[in-house]
Symmetry: C2
């Protein structure tokens, strides 16, 4: 979905910076590419480039948890259970939402498995997004997607279904209409 969104954004004549985790996806060459591994690195990279950007489309699915203790060596199996203590990683979109300046926009993605619209609207508010794109786990590793786009009032603006490339173009049409040129200019 990230690659399709980058391509759709480039098609509309924008400059694009992709911040990506360690995935095997090939992004469009015309986009500037910044590689990160951890959620903390993703936040750091976003904070560095977001101030120069008009908006951010947050389609990445960064890891929500990280181990509290990292073993320096490989752990040998010991024939018993293992208990992993994890702490939450920083909320990247919420951090950027709190720092965004007037005129900047933020489009979040929510992947939910139940109470989808309710949870997506709660996320939109918490993270101070302008729009939220809802999708389900069916989107993962698929060439197709089905999304709903909701605005700050919880109104369903659009439902898009099809190849990710087409869905990305549809999302960009909504972003353009509502956030880039909201007065129809």
């Amino acid at each position: 979905m990230g690659r399709a969104l980058a391509a759709a954004t480039l098609e509309l004549g924008h400059e694009v910076i992709v911040i990506s985790g360690p995935v095997s996806v090939k992004y469009p060459r015309q986009a500037e590419l910044i590689r990160v591994v951890s959620t903390a690195e993703l936040l750091e990279a976003c904070r560095k480039v977001f101030p120069q950007c008009q908006g951010l489309i947050a389609a990445a699915a960064p890891c929500d948890y990280q181990p509290i203790r990292i073993e320096p060596h490989k752990m040998a199996k010991r024939g018993r259970r293992l208990v992993l203590q994890l702490r939450e990683t920083p909320d990247v979109v919420a951090a950027l939402g709190a720092e965004k300046k007037p005129g900047q926009w933020l489009v979040g993605f929510a992947l939910e498995t139940e109470d989808r619209r309710f949870r997506a609207l709660a996320k939109l508010e918490k993270k101070r997004c302008d729009l939220m794109v809802l999708n389900g786990p069916q989107a993962i590793d698929s060439t197709r997607n089905r999304v709903e786009i909701i605005d700050r009032s919880g109104r369903l603006l659009d439902t898009l279904e099809g190849p990710k490339k087409e869905v990305a173009r549809g999302i960009l049409r909504v972003i353009h209409r509502r956030l880039v040129w909201p007065s129809g200019g």
Copy 2:
């Protein structure tokens, strides 16, 4: 390393069955490919095909642990720590080692970060392997590797370093000399 070993084995005129987890590696077309996801599926697939094979090169790094409880839905962040209870997955190579028939051979891989040779020899004995290939974490996601090959007595047979393709050919030379044609035939 799995792809390089499959290619080196095909080069020597053998039939090859690759059992692979969900990785983006492209295996040689001449090899039969069986896809698995979990460690339990890996063991099941190995048990199905191993009886027809002369030998097994166990270069996969299956997951050592699995969650005791699997959530049916996506877990929402709750602002607090998460404790994951994990249990050990089955030891695939040890299971096959216990089931191998006379004439069949088993080459294990050990990725160790400390006490490498001692741990590798302990693994070789526990898993009833004929040879053990030692490598370090530097091998992961690298095009190069550095390995040591030890036999059942703990003797160092060979040290190989270079592109994985070349290292795989070297490993196959040792397998041929010691296991496939041990009498030099």
